[in-house]
Symmetry: D2
Subunit: 340 residues, 4 copies
């Protein structure tokens, strides 16, 4: 039985507590938040769980084996290090840290202590994203040509991070899991419409060494909500629409076919293929429940999580690089090698 | 009665011929195409129209007052100049020319001869786009924050121009009409998935001197067709979905409200407004018919077209600049001042 | 403070308990269910609430002022009577009873004891349905021509009641609230696809004394989920799509206009009107919370509920009549006058 | 080369003329309409086609082998008989005739003269309906449980026929082709909202000897356009949405599974199956072109058309029976045996 302590009981914390509470093999033993009224709510729902306003206290409790950190991102590094140094396994909210240097240091700390460090890239544990990975693994899509995602809505303006860190982080986490290739450079553009606030609309293109291009469009100021990803391959193309109640994933047998031996006739070079569409039935288990079980399994059996610190670091590095490019109106910026 | 000669009877030419044939105040007297089988079709449908394979011949016919040019873009300059030099008014397909220099020379030629030079930016004559212009003119949207358009489908790969010149040209023409501000620089990214062909997927960000940002996403290799534009303002936001049978334009009374005197409390700075949605009834007249009438009116009364050579030049200059940026992975490029 | 006892903690009971627990002016003091494991769940979530497997016990507790009954319909009458006879106010799940005679007797019992008897027609308390009522009240739709509703999905086959009692009950409750006119006869058709089970697909037409016709289509065996109601009036028409995330209600300024003085020319008699569409912003408060407050208000202040026993009786009578017509392949059946 | 004469050049006639003109093996030689301006339009488009205002003249022309009749339905019988008696093959618009007796006499006349009599049930020749037929033929859907169709829009009120004859005729023609079983009785309801006009909204249930039920909902007074058919089978279910640009047909691997040996436990009797959805690529050839070729083939080779007089008669008989039931508020009416 893995005993879980959770730091941060705001928007996402209650979902983490609930899933670990209901997950076989784990028990939530303590919750920390600086706001007493949030702790009171924990007490009402989970009378047996200890509560505290001190994160230090939670990290050093003897009845806590693993710490789940669901605070604003600017406290991830400090709290993650404290938990690791206290010998606890750690599950960090996304993005993993405010800088790639911090992310690297967390990875090193966990490695040297042989502790599990996992990042809550929740989408990776959904039926839809797992299905996309299955298809890319099996080569069903052929060569991947592009990854294009739109994630927009009328959303809460963050005051500390730009819209990429809030919304694009989901797409980058999905891409990191679904695609084999890694971006080598980034061009990003965006704008802040409220003076003194970070960018609330952003566009981010990623280049690869292969014939792949990726683009993410995020916006906190859209009148309509869109959550749609296109994954275009030479053999098949996928549309992932997360707002569909069922049929979130549609696979199209469409594309172009190239004639390898054209006789100088342009119009014969490229043929079009329009075939069936197929929407596979997806697993409907709650992603966070799947993820909680996976975390417990990693802790119990010393496994490396699907969304380990390295995945978290790659995502943070992309966000960092894109933010840099965005300040220069899209100037392409190479993605540096890992820090540390 | 304005007598019209049409050069180019391929995909779009038949629509032009039909609309000028049915338009009061105009008559189609001659059609030119290099393909005899296309001319045979003209003869079957319009027995009274003269046909010729020689564009020079058509431009110099005494029974032609105005020449409509619907050939591939690389012939626009040469044919436009020939028609103007023969004293004919000219309606050019979009994009107006292959380079901004060519566009400028066409404008000068028409000006010096006091001839009408119009560009077929068809969307400008649709009920939907005219409604958007009405709203920006009346200030109904408040300050314009962003213009975001997606125009993707499984489309014919062009062999001479990249996807921006084929698809983004529509969005740039709409923007040129609907927005008062003009872009000052561009960052564009894209990729060619067929060796030796121009880019078939492209993303283009435009920066302005105001708090406006514009973005266009075009793709010839999408499994699904999307034609959607978001126009976000401080007071209202518009979604223009050209694939909707009715309700192409939806106006949302949504956005953020800024508190001008916050007391250092971040969360009070920005409020959210979620109100009604309204889909105005739109004029359903065929855009090309409206446009044909407008051209005839300009010729008869010496008016300047809504989509004159200057509008065509601005669009070509944006395409040129974006294509340049695209070869450098999004490096921002300033939009030069008009040539000539 | 109204003290609430809830009988039945299956699918809907937990929602009732939660809403009364969080509703100002009420407290849940006891919950009854025959299944111990359900009561154990109550205990975990609400340690202060008493639990019992005896409905009689619950009805006679001195710390219960009002009883909420969320059992299968065949126990509504017996439990409702027991609660009323014990001097408790009653909120009954829909449909209110298995027969209109039972419903009438419940009404009489409550009246003679001056107790509140309310039926949980939840939809009546949604923002969407209240908006529809507002529009019919204000005469905004003109004369009502038709009410047409589709409520289909792949749903749990009930073994004791046909699909009308399970699904159409929602539509009849909405109609009862939104329309001023009452049906005078019914023609219903349907079929059972599983031997020995009640009908799982049904169509029900209602006739009125006015120029109104109503139709409800329900189906437990549809591959897709549809929740859509059309309300057609002479001035405006409404589409209520409950599966829309926002814009559940769309009001169309469309219809026909009749020319009162035609000169024998058929084609001039009827004109068409196609105008704007408008989607009003709706209240987003949870319906059951609004309803719980309303029940408390009725109990405290002796008010008649919006969805009182009479409304519940009218709905049951329609279900009864339709079920009768359905056994005779649509033979029209008049709706009898109230029993009792 | 089959020489075609067309009677009626109103809404649908031009489509018929165009398709036969472009169809290999046929030529349109004459067109009849009582309105000179319609004939003038024929002359402009097809200078070589003879025109006449006399149907008798057209039927007896020596350069006409087959007559296509696209007039209002009340003239179908008279014109069809005239053409057959003149020895011409006949293609009749739907519905085939105003009464089943007329339909039967047309069938007899054609049979006795060994002439082809075909009815223009256009939908039967679409890729979508042919795919549905393929599936029912192959037994892919299992036992058919229901056929449910909605065909509503803001449409032209007919003054001579009710909405069933105008809109439901399409659904009945599709059903006649797709389903093996034939209805044995009908219950229909409806209402006329304009005094003196036929019903503009109607609901029609059809009963069969098998466990199949069919329902059609048609309405000329809907603010939104819907064209959707559900075809539910024990193994698979189909949604046919004719307004979808692509994916008109979606096949769902969903339904219930019945446990043949339940142990008195209701909840185990019925299981639910939720599987993949599949949208097959459909032929995109224009239906009327396919139909024109089929008619020519039947005339040339003495074949029986897919949509022969018998199919037309079955559809007319259903319309007749439903109209009768509709006047009695849904009283079920048996479908008589063929007249004649």
């Amino acid at each position: 039985m893995i005993r879980i302590g959770v730091i941060g009981y705001g928007y996402w914390g209650p979902n983490l507590v609930r899933n670990f509470a209901e997950c076989g093999g784990a028990a939530v033993t303590a919750v920390c938040d600086t706001r007493e009224e949030r702790l009171a709510q924990v007490k009402r729902r989970y009378p047996g769980v200890a509560t505290t306003t001190s994160a230090t206290d939670l990290c050093t409790r003897s009845d806590v084996d693993a710490v789940v950190i669901a605070t604003p991102v600017d406290r991830h590094f400090e709290l993650g290090m404290a938990a690791l140094r206290a010998g606890k396994h750690v599950l960090l909210e996304k993005p993993m840290a405010s800088t790639s240097e911090q992310a690297s240091r967390l990875i090193d700390e966990a490695a040297s202590r042989r502790l599990v460090l996992m990042v809550d890239h929740t989408f990776v544990y959904t039926g839809a994203v797992r299905k996309m990975r299955e298809m890319t693994d099996a080569g069903e899509l052929g060569d991947i040509y592009y990854y294009d995602s739109v994630r927009i809505n009328l959303g809460l303006f963050q005051h500390d991070v730009n819209v990429l860190w809030d919304l694009a982080v989901h797409d980058l986490a999905i891409m990191d899991y679904v695609l084999k290739d890694r971006p080598v450079s980034v061009s990003a553009t965006g704008l802040a419409h409220v003076a003194g606030r970070p960018q609330n609309i952003a566009y981010m293109t990623m280049f690869f060494d292969s014939s792949l291009i990726a683009h993410v469009h995020v916006n906190w100021l859209s009148p309509v909500k869109v959550r749609r990803t296109l994954l275009g391959g030479s053999r098949r193309m996928v549309v992932f629409d997360d707002l569909e109640a069922s049929e979130k994933i549609k696979v199209y047998d469409r594309g172009i076919s190239l004639n390898p031996s054209p006789e100088n006739v342009y119009q014969m070079l490229i043929g079009y293929r329009t075939g069936d569409m197929h929407a596979p039935q997806l697993a409907v288990t709650e992603a966070l429940g799947v993820e909680a079980l996976h975390f417990v399994d990693c802790v119990n059996n010393g496994k490396t999580p699907l969304t380990d610190g390295e995945a978290g670091l790659r995502v943070v590095r992309l966000l960092e690089t894109a933010s840099e490019s965005m300040t220069e109106q899209g100037r392409p910026v190479s993605i540096g090698s890992p820090v540390g």
